[in-house]
Symmetry: C2
Subunit: 487 residues, 2 copies
């Protein structure tokens, strides 16, 4: 992991050893994805001198490869235009239930209360949203439509916990919109007066004798650049999805997911830099895991079963919940069972692995325990015929008995289907973006946002939350650092 | 969490600020449980001057409250005397399968290869073992018998992965033997010439300008004691089970387990001390969780079901596997279903919560989905009558159809039954006991063992492994520090 590195990130540099700084700014931002851009914009608009350092040749990062969905709600103009009532409290209730088991109440509260304001801030900074709804849930529309359900808000159990509302907002662009979003945010960052240094890899933090972070050591054009941060350093440099050593150490099960979402920059370097300065990390074992069965959602008229032929979740929920449950609780043994009335190829092109004229024969070909799938299907069909799913409460519109031979199983195991994943764990931060040490104290001069931190999703995930909490708490971090005293 | 502390543990002290040391030793050991005692003995027997610091008034720690089982195998004298063939390779195969998903191969290899030697070392240091087997698996015998199955070695799937052998070794004492074991280890530590300072709380580490750990700051008699460690500091001060803030931050689900196994010392202080000196932590989300249904094992002729009436595990496995599966994967919703032929009160005194004349009535009283438990029982009974369990492969001796009314359910949810738990995550160490930083480098002068570290059980747990790897790797750490150069 570190062999190619000139300097190990956790080896902090002492300020007392630095004679002359090469560059200086009030606020130094490390990493130029969506979180970094919003951080820089806020800090610059607060009147401070901002220097943004990016190891790639331009802004973008993993954000530019994303679908572009931003999780916002509580009554945004798009929600209202599309006829959805939402309030900060309903959004709060949903997130408290969906992202735990230990949701960060303070972060969620502020995120929900200020979500409409965040929407307007994005619009003011050049990000357009169309006043339209896309009915296919789970991921961004492939049209320029904006709003959709991206967390299972309208499915069990959340439909009983909070009033359902779609909160995934995609910028107006006729495809995956991450690149488009980043174009707009980069343009706004440039307008803000932020100074950018790209092709510049940050190597380690600089701390003074009082353990305050006062700068970074960077590497550009084969030269070390000592960068002084008068007010603070903000780390917004991604997670550790692309670092196989850290993945193996902290969240080994995702190694088998072949669709790792990230760029080379997601190597955990910023997390290790901060740990060298005393930072705590939380939920390093957590990851987003998505099993791309939907769209189309109507394929969820089939049933998902595990290695012993049991159902384990309501199939109509968010595919990220299916993925987390499937990988972490069912060991990746997931099969989608359909009959000829339900079967179709999905967007990901998944095809039937087993096709048989009877459920008994299907069970046998799949190597499931005798009688297991038959018992599951018998129970499911009996109640589905009445529009009921007493086990997992799938929505009635997707309940229909599976009785049209032939029957098929789509083998969804990670060696057959490309499950998507990225890490969720990282630095422990305050809602202000201040980074905490293991004793729960802030580390002076150090801030972070985005995937470098453990954000709102302390375990459970919702699509749109990486860009959602990255942009939101990036702004918070930028403002916090801008307000800090100069050192 | 830290309000009562005079010094936050992660706030390391700089050696340059220390004028005069109060105490000195070659090796300073922090914490006097089983790991600390073995660490001190090894370091002292290697000819170095050892100082052991303990915050309580004497040696013991959580080890003294334990059952006393030590996981050892590969052909110990007790195994041989009781007629069990075992080899280091079979032990290795079992542990590689049982403690993952990401077993530490290097640690497991050395632990298995040197396990018989470790047995002899314990005997030579005064720990007696009786040459006898106790047939009731899972926890220590309540007699003075020694050997039993403590990890599900003889149950599915491990019985097919490695040749089953019992490896839990309890010292010869007619009850739980943790206190007895600690008496013997304390006596051996005293004989070794180790200097002990009890009622002495270690507050933080001392590091020099090269980031080497060179001592500790301790607190005794309301005075600060600056303790120099010429060769190294070894942290053996327990986990963080008793620190509600750290539990909430890292492994929130265990908060609902009312039987938290530990002493006040298990507050994670040593982990935070080490993090202040740059240490990495791994698997902070992992915990032993035991659901004390057995003994007696014959109660496992019943079936365990989840909130939707499905079986989820072979009931004859180790109760720590049932507990981890039950809490982390089934949300704590666990019920033991029995009929009148199987029912009896278990050792923990668990009683039937629901009793009905039919399975349908039982299902309804329990509030399970209609038809769910009935389908599960029908399938189970059909195959049990043939001596088979196609779903989970429970051993034939425990398979019998549950057909004798009345039927009963023992509600095992954590608010009804005291699940036992302790944390497994902690410092990332080498097999030598050297502590690693987030870049995978050793931190000079810093060693650790026992629950302060993430030991062999990086997720899955086996009874006897806390004392097993604590004593084993405690010895390794003691030897490593004793061999280090003086600073």
């Amino acid at each position: 992991m570190t062999g190619r590195d000139r300097v190990n990130p956790s080896a902090v540099r002492k300020a007392s050893r630095i004679g002359k700084w090469d560059w200086e700014a009030d606020v130094v931002v490390v990493g130029y994805g969506a979180a970094g851009a919003c951080t820089a914009i806020e800090a610059a608009e607060a009147g401070t001198e901002v220097l943004l350092l990016e190891r790639a040749s331009g802004g973008g990062g993993t954000s530019a490869n994303a679908g572009g969905v931003i999780y916002m709600g509580g009554g945004t103009p798009v929600q209202k235009a599309c006829g959805f009532d939402d309030t900060p409290d309903e959004m709060y209730k949903f997130l408290m239930a969906a992202v735990g088991p230990d949701p960060d109440e303070a972060k969620i509260r502020i995120f929900c209360d200020a979500s409409v304001a965040h929407y307007h801030w994005l619009v003011e900074h050049g990000v357009p949203f169309k006043m339209s709804f896309s009915p296919e849930p789970g991921m961004e529309a492939l049209t320029d439509d904006c709003l959709n359900y991206t967390g299972g808000e309208d499915a069990y159990p959340f439909d009983r916990i909070a009033k359902p509302a779609p909160r995934g907002h995609k910028p107006q662009y006729p495809a995956a919109a991450g690149g488009f979003l980043m174009q707009k945010l980069v343009a706004a960052a440039e307008r803000s007066g932020t100074r950018m240094e790209c092709d510049t890899r940050c190597e380690t933090l600089v701390v003074d004798d009082a353990r305050q972070v006062v700068g970074v050591v960077a590497w550009q054009d084969k030269q070390e650049r000592l960068v002084r941060a008068r007010r603070g350093v903000i780390l917004t440099a991604g997670g550790f999805t692309m670092n196989p050593t850290m993945v193996a150490r902290h969240v080994p099960l995702i190694a088998q997911c072949s669709n790792k979402i990230g760029t080379d920059g997601d190597d955990g370097r910023a997390i290790r830099m901060a740990m060298g300065a005393g930072a705590d990390v939380i939920h390093m074992d957590a990851a987003e895991v998505a099993l791309p069965i939907t769209p189309p959602r109507r394929l969820m008229r089939g049933i998902l079963v595990n290695r012993v032929g049991q159902r384990f979740i309501n199939e109509d929920t968010y595919f990220g919940r299916v993925g987390q449950e499937g990988l972490f609780r069912q060991g990746g043994h997931v099969y989608l069972i359909v009959d000829s009335a339900v079967y179709e190829r999905n967007l990901a092109g998944m095809e039937a692995s087993y096709v048989e004229e009877s459920v008994a024969a299907l069970e046998e070909s799949m190597g499931l325990p005798p009688g297991s799938l038959q018992a599951t299907m018998e129970h499911y069909n009996r109640f589905a015929a009445q529009g009921e799913d007493p086990l997992f409460h799938k929505m009635p519109t997707l309940l229909q008995p599976l009785t049209s031979a032939p029957y098929a199983a789509i083998d969804c195991r990670p060696d057959k289907v490309a499950w998507a994943t990225f890490t969720l764990g990282g630095l422990h931060t305050q809602p202000t973006g201040e980074v905490l040490n293991p004793d729960g104290e802030t580390i002076p001069g150090l801030y972070a946002a985005g995937r470098t931190t453990c954000g709102i999703c302390s375990w459970g995930y919702v699509s749109g939350m990486s860009l959602g909490d990255g942009t939101f708490f990036g702004r918070k971090a930028g403002r916090s650092a801008a307000r800090a005293s100069k050192v």
